[in-house]
């Protein structure tokens, strides 16, 4: 049993709590519903631990400042929602390219454009993975409870430091604004990962030469390495112009993550693991699906709910294993069929149609509706 305390808090608040425990000391943000509480609480809490919370002039500046702080040697994060997440896309590519560990929370709301600021949605599923230009990879975690906002935030900081990447927490309005019990372990009960820094003399150090785990050591600024860190395609010494090394570098920033997915990919199954009927969900929808599984059980219906916690890189093999033996697969999500496309790609059995139970417009699906869907669409 871990030592700690229990506190009732908002999902967004749990995120801040975890970030501070993980050592986040810089926050660059811009107000936007339904993520604003993260900025507000950070602005209260960071000064108390000698950190800095800056409300920047826009979300571009917010994330770029986070990247600067990361190279400055600090754990840093930002949080936003749809329109702000759009503005951050170029800088997400920047964080990838300069291998700056950082955490970005997207508390999703309805889109497109200004959409529905106070309503929940899951329409940024693909944007979180493919929103920036060029070939790259990153990690996207999807919490479904305030507790998971906490746990995923710790995990996000750890993964960002381990892989030197931006890690995205793809939350949504329901998870951000739910107020529920969160268990906060004492700091000594948790594991925190820190970026590895070089120790060899400057002359012997090659800035983008990877270690065995695919990740180069990070010579954060003013530690004596006089590092050239450019957003352009680069060779091992950080310069432009060597096409061959630049290509290898692009492959590496993808493979450093995708070759090590076992370290972090997570898919959970709730309910009867052998049930022929399966829901597949992510984020807040997991909650309603769980209730539906329980209600079904009372009615004598065996259902499993497959919860994809790490949505990117998509954990093909874990999802396949979790869905093994299922005869009927219903993807439930708050968009017009994004996770569905991934399931269709992963489960290629002609006899199984991947059905979609979709809710948009800020209407959160009720558990009864899951069961009704099973009956009506039979």
């Amino acid at each position: 049993m871990k030592k700690g305390r229990i506190k009732v808090m908002l999902g967004n608040e749990a995120c801040v709590e975890a970030a501070l425990l993980a050592g986040c000391r810089f926050y660059g943000g811009y107000p936007i519903t339904p993520a604003t509480e993260i900025l507000e609480i950070m602005s209260r809490r960071l000064p108390l631990v000698d950190g800095l919370c800056l409300q920047m002039e826009d979300e571009i500046a917010a994330l770029v400042a986070v990247v600067g702080a990361s190279w400055g040697g600090t754990k840093a994060m930002t949080a936003t929602s749809g329109p702000g997440f759009c503005l951050m896309q170029e800088a997400i590519g920047l964080a990838v390219a300069v291998e700056a560990p950082c955490v970005i929370v997207n508390v999703q709301r309805g889109g497109p454009a200004s959409g529905q600021s106070t309503s929940t949605a899951q329409g940024d599923f693909y944007q979180a993975r493919y929103g920036s230009n060029g070939d790259y990879s990153l990690i996207v975690l999807c919490p479904s409870t305030a507790q998971e906002m906490f746990d995923h935030t710790i995990k996000a900081f750890n993964l960002s430091e381990r892989f030197r990447i931006p890690v995205i927490i793809l939350s949504d309005e329901v998870v951000g604004h739910i107020r529920e019990k969160v268990f906060i372990p004492d700091a000594d009960q948790l594991t925190f990962v820190e970026r590895k820094v070089p120790t060899v003399p400057m002359e012997e150090f090659v800035i983008f030469k990877p270690e065995e785990n695919g990740v180069p050591l990070m010579p954060t600024f003013n530690t004596g390495y006089k590092s050239p860190v450019i957003s352009q395609a680069k060779s091992l010494n950080g310069n432009r112009g060597n096409a061959k090394e630049a290509v290898e570098n692009i492959r590496r920033i993808v493979s450093k993550i995708e070759d090590h997915m076992d370290e972090f990919a997570e898919v959970q199954v709730y309910g009867d693991e052998k049930a022929e009927t399966a829901f597949v969900t992510f984020g807040s929808v997991c909650r309603a699906a769980r209730s539906a599984v329980d209600m079904g059980k009372e009615k004598g219906l065996a259902i499993r709910s497959v919860e994809v916690k790490t949505v990117w890189p998509f954990p093909d093999h874990l999802v396949r294993r979790a869905l093994a033996g299922a005869k009927r697969i219903v993807v439930a999500e708050m968009n017009l069929g994004m996770l569905q496309r991934e399931i269709e790609r992963v489960i290629r059995q002609p006899e199984i149609k991947i059905e979609l139970f979709s809710k948009i417009g800020g209407i959160y699906p009720q558990p009864q509706e899951f069961l009704r869907f099973l009956e009506e669409k039979r």
């Binding site: 000391r25 660059g28 500046a61 600067g68 190279w71 040697g73 600090t74 860190v229 010494n237």
Partner: protein
């Protein structure tokens, strides 16, 4: 390589990517001279955006983060925020700083955060091949104003002053001595300093706007058109003649942002220790 270059340049990154006779290399040298005079190389952290001028800092053997077009200033703020003892300097072009990154300039200046923005004004988007910039003169024919530029110029120094910068200067690459002095002042200034450098771009500005691609011609153009005038009330007259006022325009002392942050943190922590949190 001259001795300054031997001492401070990143040898494995040479030659500079700049065209023959480009002013950007002169800025590298003037800045390094200032750094050498002050002996502050280990305290430097540079940032840059995108453009020819954004490469200025990359050749110097110092920590540099070269980010996205227009975003060098927020990157600098992030770096400064994590360790206020650094001397943070941003190299940015006229397009980078006044167009796509214009908003960041305003807000960094109004915060009076201790950093230096060096805006290299070659009056054009050079890297992309000679398109109109906010600093291009009215009437100029560029690749994207083939019938003449209809838009009025944005004056970086005036913008910086209006936004609250506490040190503002403009010089040109034809004024290396003054430039070195101003760099040193800025590196020691506690607050937001903005230095605009009129720089020759023989290849784009020279060929398309000024009528000659010769480095000598373009260098002379700066000598002929940059007039020392530190009294703002006289600028309009100089500008009306198609000339450019240069000089050290402003230096005042105002509360510096990171120092204020430290003070606030202290105050808040003491209050919390006493039981409140404000």
């Amino acid at each position: 390589m001259n001795p300054l270059g031997e001492k401070y340049l990143r040898k494995d990154f040479l030659p500079f990517l700049f065209c023959p006779g480009c002013g950007d290399g002169m800025i590298v040298q003037a800045f390094l001279q200032a750094v050498d005079d002050l002996g502050c190389v280990d305290d430097l952290a540079l940032t840059a955006g995108i453009g020819c001028s954004a490469w200025i800092g990359v050749y110097m053997h110092v920590d540099i983060l070269k980010v996205l077009h227009g975003r060098a200033i927020p990157a600098a703020i992030g770096i400064k925020a994590t360790n206020p003892s650094r001397k943070v300097v941003t190299f940015t072009g006229d397009g980078d700083c006044l167009a796509i990154g214009g908003n960041h300039l305003l807000h960094a200046a109004r915060r009076n955060i201790d950093m230096t923005v060096v805006m290299v004004n070659n009056q054009i988007y050079a890297m992309t091949g000679g398109q109109v910039a906010p600093s291009t003169a009215v009437g100029s024919k560029t690749q994207t104003t083939p019938y003449g530029n209809l838009e009025r110029q944005l004056n970086g120094c005036k913008v910086a002053i209006a936004a609250g910068a506490t040190m503002v200067s403009r010089w040109s690459t034809a004024h290396p001595k003054q430039l070195i002095k101003t760099f040193k002042k800025a590196l020691n200034h506690k607050g937001f300093s903005f230095i605009e450098i009129m720089s020759q771009c023989p290849v784009q500005t020279g060929r398309y706007l000024l009528g000659s691609g010769s480095p000598q011609f373009n260098f002379q153009w700066l000598k002929d058109h940059c007039m020392k005038e530190e009294d703002p009330s006289k600028w309009a007259e100089i500008e009306a003649q198609g000339n450019i006022p240069v000089g050290d325009f402003l230096q005042v002392e105002q509360p510096e942002f990171m120092a204020e942050v430290a003070r606030m943190n202290q105050r808040v922590k003491e209050a919390q220790a006493k039981g409140g949190d404000r």
